[in-house]
Symmetry: C2
Subunit: 231 residues, 2 copies
Amino acid sequence: MGTQPEPSSTPRTALNRERVVRAAVALADEAGLEALSMRKLGQRLGVEAMSLYNHVANKDDLLDGMIDVVFSEIDLPASDAGWRTAMRQRAASVREALARHPWATGLMELRTTHGPTSLRHHEAVLDCLREAGFSIENATHAYWLLDSYIYGFAIQEASLPFGTPEELVEMAEIVLPRVPAETYPRLNEAAAAALAAGYDYTHEFEFGLDLILDGLERLLDSARESGATVH
Amino acid sequence: MGTQPEPSSTPRTALNRERVVRAAVALADEAGLEALSMRKLGQRLGVEAMSLYNHVANKDDLLDGMIDVVFSEIDLPASDAGWRTAMRQRAASVREALARHPWATGLMELRTTHGPTSLRHHEAVLDCLREAGFSIENATHAYWLLDSYIYGFAIQEASLPFGTPEELVEMAEIVLPRVPAETYPRLNEAAAAALAAGYDYTHEFEFGLDLILDGLERLLDSARESGATVH
DNA sequence: CGCTGTATGCTTACGACGTAAGTATACCGG
DNA sequence: CCGGTATACTTACGTCGTAAGCATACAGCG
């Protein structure tokens, strides 16, 4: 077709690191992290496993690349909308990305090194908080608090085996008989209420997030009261 | 020696599920989860790998047992000290257990089934909150919020590669040159402050926890105001 | 006492894994 | 045209979880 490439004997489009990493992300999304092997990934790309090592140092390097993809899908906090809405948007963006790639939280625990995408992200969040008037210490507190909550929520959401209300009902039918109301009355009343109301993760997430943001706002106000932050 | 056991040809103490699981926990603590293989575990117990399958259905079953051990190390909330101190103690207990076994958070994501120890734990926490006057919905909110924070914090603590102030200084020397102050000013000022103050995870953890508990207390008060909860 | 499960251990073997080492091919700049 | 570089393939090693089969030792029972 074109004039330069497609030299007749390499039918497949050229392999490169990005294509390898993206295919790995797609494979992990579809089949889970434990199904991601170099051989299966090669198969998916029409290539032998060892050929992947021309584009990726080893499997850990591949996993690092996958983490970077996830980070790149997270919106940086908007700088023009006030810290609170910026933090809300970022939190939602993180949760969406982690829900899209349920394997990501598990990976981020193992791979401790942070790529430039991750660093840029951290920098932007800290900057947003500092610009809003948080002291260095309080910005650090706020960051730990928000990230702990967001990641912890994403993990629990990912490990609970239902996403839709139908799956919730389905799972309740299987699990609840093993949780008799006599020994676990509190679990049962909570489960009954959740089933009746049609449980919604997003609503649950935002409830906790707003409670935390309220606390941070009070922290900011009381710090302002007792002496302005250097800005 | 004794009259009944020790029939001269089985020198080692009898193997059973508990000994296998405990050895697995110890091995994972020392060498990490990725070093836990059935062969190495057998070696540690003076036994071939396949012999372990007489006491454990398969590796997943072993992992489930390990999770149960971790849960059994977590103190149930005290029922006689008020919900706030009970939640504080439980939170500290969870964090300690997860810090003692850094592999636990990673496992709990994968193994979604909950054993009786886990169920009992959930029940006790919910009961504590309900007794304190939280509505069913608010107790559920509080549980999600607290657990998300605790687990998220534990994960970040485990994945950050330092535990002592010395290790922090050591790591800073390695990492900071790769995080230039011109492009990452906020990260650098935060790192500098943490280095100067001697960063303390426990302090950081309790700061966020107290902020959350403050928020929950307000929630409880405002619910009390607008009409008592059925109790 | 011997007979007979049953519990517990060991050996061997299979297929999948990550990846080191060596080889073949196809392109590009001289 | 020629040599180097990039990319792909083949083969092979050690490790993994575990299925299948075999050995032994003990308990209950006649």
